[in-house]
Amino acid sequence: MAELKLRGVGKVYDGGVRVLSGIDLDVADGEFLVLVGPSGCGKSTLLRMIAGLEHITEGTLEIDGRVVNDVAPKDRDVAMVFQSYALYPHMTVRQNMGFSLQIRRTAAAEMDAKVEEAARMLGLSGLLDRLPRELSGGQRQRVAIGRAIVRRPRVFLFDEPLSNLDANLRGQMRVELKALHRDLGTTMIYVTHDQIEAMTLADRICLLEGGHARQVDTPSGLYDRPDSRFVASFIGSPPMNFLPLAPAGNRLTAAGISIPMPAGLPSDRLRATVDVGLRPHELGLAETDGGSIDATVDLIEMLGWDALVHARCGDVPVLAQIEAHGAAGLEHGAPIRFWAAPGAAKLFDHETGRAIKGGGAA
């Protein structure tokens, strides 16, 4: 059980490559924090710095109030599950899971008890005497997790632990991880680039981009109140539509598009162009007060209960998620009018991508 404090943490590799800068992050005791972001943004690096496998070149890392920048990994009392599992190939499952206890000279009986308990939690009881190469991918994954939990560390670190599994197994493991966190109640930091994993598992998500922490918030907070166009586009599937519109009076318009100005946003505070974000499911065919978009159908993806309509308004692509029966009969080239859900539009600065929030009571 532990809380972590990162203050101005940055990383510059030996060759002078800057990978992370100015990360401020607080992880509460027992929290499940997910680090998410596009490939190469520095997620693994940050995680490895917390683990102690990578030197912290800037800033400080505190665990439970103690700065651990110069503490060796083995003395930080954190456990890590690697993307490749990193199971010791010459040891049985039992030995793999018991290794950390053996290193700590735990009594044999206690060690067996702990390993067996972890194995039971993870459904590995029958496999304890097998070698890693005699296991399936999912089983190896569980052993890797088992190896981390037998010694009850203060913090768990996971680096994309599910990315080597097929979609079904990944879904199942996700649920198990969530349950595990509930049962253990230990602080967990979890790296993924899969936003569904991030949304489903996290208490809070830290979204990294280009070595910077862009936004740290609960999943719904990130979804509903993105700080920037990047956050808005990264979170949510299918991704948000962005329409470059010009403020005109109390509306935002472009050729074929007209959306009412959100409340509390006088047009004089806006530049000539703003990006208006609308999630695909916020567009529909039934008329609303939320404004309309006239477009031409490109193609339809039928998903069963609903359908994705790819359309185009001038040069601007528009994606809408509507009920499947509404999409029936739509054809390529046919004109279509989408209606936006009232109050759904989010505004972003066209240049900086920053969210433009209402000024409270207008």
Binding site: A51, G52, L53, A72, P73, K74, V78, A79, M80, F82, S84, A86, L87, Y88, P89, H90, F99, S100, I103, R104, R147, R151
Partner: protein, 724 residues
């Protein structure tokens, strides 16, 4: 049989009748001369051919090292030379094994220096025409000596004392004191001897001990360098750091240009009044007993010795044996050659009895033991006698080969029956035919392996059941093995015993492989570190020891362990420690061998480890780090077990190599002290080549080595399969 008939037929035809025969038999002459000596012999032969056009001569220069072996193997098979030029040392052997023919009496024997005739005489008959002779002489750097050349040991000592006062770090006199050949002059000078009247070796005499004490004294007083090797003496003499050297004519070739020297007879021993008497080695032209043209061969040999004397003296600067050649020549003879002749005036011919070759190794060993103070001269000589006795012990009795043959036959039939049954049962034949292509491709390699490996192996194993004496092999059954394994002739704890040597060999192998693996793995681990700069450079540098031929490395290390001039002792002295006489004690000598072989052996293990490390994912170590393992724990519980599959075969192989690492033992310690650091393979070599050619005994050693290594590889293979 056919050969004998042809031989007889040829002999029956009188030479006169053969004169008009269209294809005259060619005379084959073998020698091992090089440079000017070779040119002179070629010219003499050309002259002979001009005078005797009916006897064309074909010359063959055989490398010196292979000469004796080639002769003993070629002549009995009828494809050897008609005439050959060789040193007289083995004459007795060759006469006894019927290799060379006796020569007619009378003229020209009175024309040669008597000592040279004595050298080629065996049981009252001459077996070669003396060509030239060599002996040790006193080389003097007059500029360094700065006084008259000492004529006796008292004036030698006086001169040495005078010099020592003036020039510390320099020496008065040097010779290869650890070699009995170089020591022999003093043995005779002190009135001692080597063989008694019956031609039996007898080293344990007070006079011999006195001669050793004389040399020990010179070394102790610092007049003579310690552990003097031929290379060291050459260097010291060339640099003017030693005033006098006792050496043979071959020393001339090593002298640096511009070094001023003169050659003198060895001094007299003051206490006895006798001259220090070196051995005389005589090059003689001998006639093969299997020659098909004995008359022509005899004529050629004689021509080389008599008519060829003057050109050999003048052109090749040979110290020729024909006395008249020295008077007759009207061309100026090189004064150095004359000095050599004078130095050899007192020399006595090296005994040509076979037993002499059993003396050198033990006598030299005893000498070295006495020189370094490990044994009193008397005791050392006595232990040399024991070794000589073992080397000259009677050969085992002949055994009846019938049992063995019957056994072999039964085994062979059993093997055939077994093979045939397998063949039929497994339908091997049709399967082989189906893949006949593959077999065709394999065939050349199989044949080559058969010829190069299995045949020599079978012959070698076969020889182990025989005893060799003067070219004859006698079947003795298991006698060699019984003698070896029963340690019949010496205690198990003596260096000569198989078990002692086996113990040393096993220890040698274990210690070496341990060092190779630990150093190799350690360096590989360091080289893998990301913070190592210039990794590539180090990697290449560390592989260099491997790339240098091992005998060069061995000689360099041998020099580094020299007591007086070696770098290792230099370092010890610099650190304020006592210099160590490395080859005087078993453990230091063993350590010197191990150090040398470790230097040679670790790069292989390092390269193997570097390769194996590549295949271990870095995350495993990181995972272990997260699990709380220290660097040492990570190495032993993660890295090492994962390296094992790659290291085990390398260890098996390295073990076999080290077990048979002849070069290092032979060149670095040479078995010193007292043969105790010898390993099995070098012991086998000694039995074969410096202890009366006990080939059968040596082959039995080789067979035992093979069996031992076979067992080791099988055991290791099983271990490997278990861990894989």
């Amino acid at each position: 049989m056919l050969m004998a008939l042809v031989f007889a037929a040829l002999l029956a035809v009188p030479p006169g009748v053969r004169g008009d025969a269209p294809a005259p038999a060619t005379l084959r002459l073998w020698h091992s001369y090089r440079g000017a000596e070779r040119d002179a012999v070629e010219r003499v032969v050309a002259e002979f051919a001009r005078i005797h056009p009916e006897w064309p001569v074909e010359l063959l220069a055989v490398p010196y090292e292979a000469f004796a072996n080639k002769l003993t193997s070629a002549i009995p098979r009828g494809n050897g030379p008609d005439v050959f030029i060789a040193a007289h040392e083995r004459l007795g052997d060759w006469v006894e094994s019927g290799l060379i023919a006796g020569l007619p009496e009378g003229d020209p024997w009175s024309g040669f220096f008597p000592a040279t005739v004595e050298a080629v005489t065996w049981k009252g008959r001459q077996f070669g025409y003396p060509l030239a002779f060599k002996s040790l002489a006193l080389f003097v750097r007059d500029d360094v000596l700065g006084g008259p050349v000492p004529g006796d040991t008292d004036s030698l000592q006086a001169a040495c004392r005078r010099m020592a006062a003036g020039r510390p770090g320099n020496f008065c006199i040097a010779w290869e004191a650890g070699s009995f050949y170089h020591h022999a002059p003093w043995v005779f000078g002190f009135g001692g001897g080597i063989l008694d009247k019956d031609g039996k070796p007898r080293l344990d005499r007070p006079e011999n001990a006195a001669s050793v004490a004389f040399v020990t004294g010179l070394t102790k007083d610092g007049h003579m360098p310690q552990e003097p090797t031929s290379a060291l003496i050459t260097q010291l003499f060339n640099e003017g750091r030693v005033a006098m050297a006792v050496n043979g004519p071959w020393f001339l070739g090593e002298l640096a240009p511009g070094v001023k020297y003169s050659v003198h007879p060895l001094p007299r021993v003051s206490s006895t009044g006798l001259p220090a008497t070196p051995f005389l080695t005589v090059d003689a032209a001998m006639v093969s007993s299997k020659s098909t043209v004995p008359e022509a061969a005899g004529a050629l040999a004689r021509f080389l010795a008599v008519e060829g004397a003057a050109p050999r003296l003048v052109d090749a600067r040979q110290v020729v044996a024909l006395a008249s050649a020295w008077d007759l020549t009207d061309v100026a003879v090189d004064p150095i050659v004359v000095q050599f002749r004078e130095a050899a005036a007192a020399a006595i011919p090296m005994p040509n009895v076979p037993v002499m070759r059993a003396v050198w190794e033990p006598a030299s060993q005893a000498l070295r033991a006495a020189l370094r103070g490990a044994a009193e001269p008397e005791a050392a000589m006595e232990s040399a006698m024991q070794r000589i006795e073992i080397a000259t012990r009677p050969r085992p009795a002949a055994a009846n080969p019938l049992f063995a043959l019957a056994g072999l036959a039964i085994l062979g039939i059993a093997a055939l029956v077994w093979a045939a049954r397998r063949f039929r049962r497994d339908d091997t034949w049709s399967r082989m035919r189906a893949s006949s292509h593959a077999y065709a491709f394999l065939a050349p390699a199989a044949v080559a392996t058969g010829v190069l490996v299995f045949v020599p192996f079978a012959v070698g194993t076969g020889v182990a059941f025989f005893s060799h004496h003067q070219g004859e092999f006698t079947y003795v059954g298991l006698a060699n093995f019984i003698n070896i394994l029963g340690s019949t002739d010496y205690a198990v704890t003596e260096p000569l015993s198989f078990w002692f040597t086996l113990g040393v060999t096993v220890m040698w192998t274990v210690v070496n492989v341990f060092m190779h693996v630990s150093i190799g793995v350690a360096l590989a681990l360091v080289l893998r570190r990301p913070w190592m700069k210039l990794r590539g450079v180090y990697r290449v540098l560390l592989i260099v020891p491997w790339a240098v031929p091992s005998y060069i490395t061995a000689l360099i290390w041998k020099g580094m362990f020299h007591k007086q001039f070696g770098a290792v002792n230099g370092l010890l002295v610099w650190l304020g420690l006592e210099p160590v006489s490395w080859f005087s004690h078993f453990w230091t000598s063993f350590a010197a061998n191990v150090a040398t072989n470790t230097w040679l052996g670790f790069p292989f293990m390092m390269v193997v480890t570097l390769g194996a490390l590549q295949s271990i994912p870095g995350e495993l170590e990181e995972a272990a780090e997260m699990d709380g393992a220290t660097a040492v724990q990570r190495f032993f519980s993660i890295t090492l077990p994962l390296l094992k599959p790659a290291l085990l075969p390398a260890i098996v192989l390295g073990g076999v190599w080290t077990f048979n690492m002849f070069n290092i033992i032979f060149l670095v310690s040479g078995g010193e002290p007292g043969g105790s650091t010898e390993i099995l393979i070098s012991e086998a070599y000694r039995w074969a080549f410096s202890r009366q050619e006990q080939y059968g005994y040596a082959a039995a050693y080789a067979t035992l080595i093979f069996l031992f290594l076979l067992a080791w590889s099988l055991a290791a293979g099983r271990l490997q399969r278990r861990t894989a």
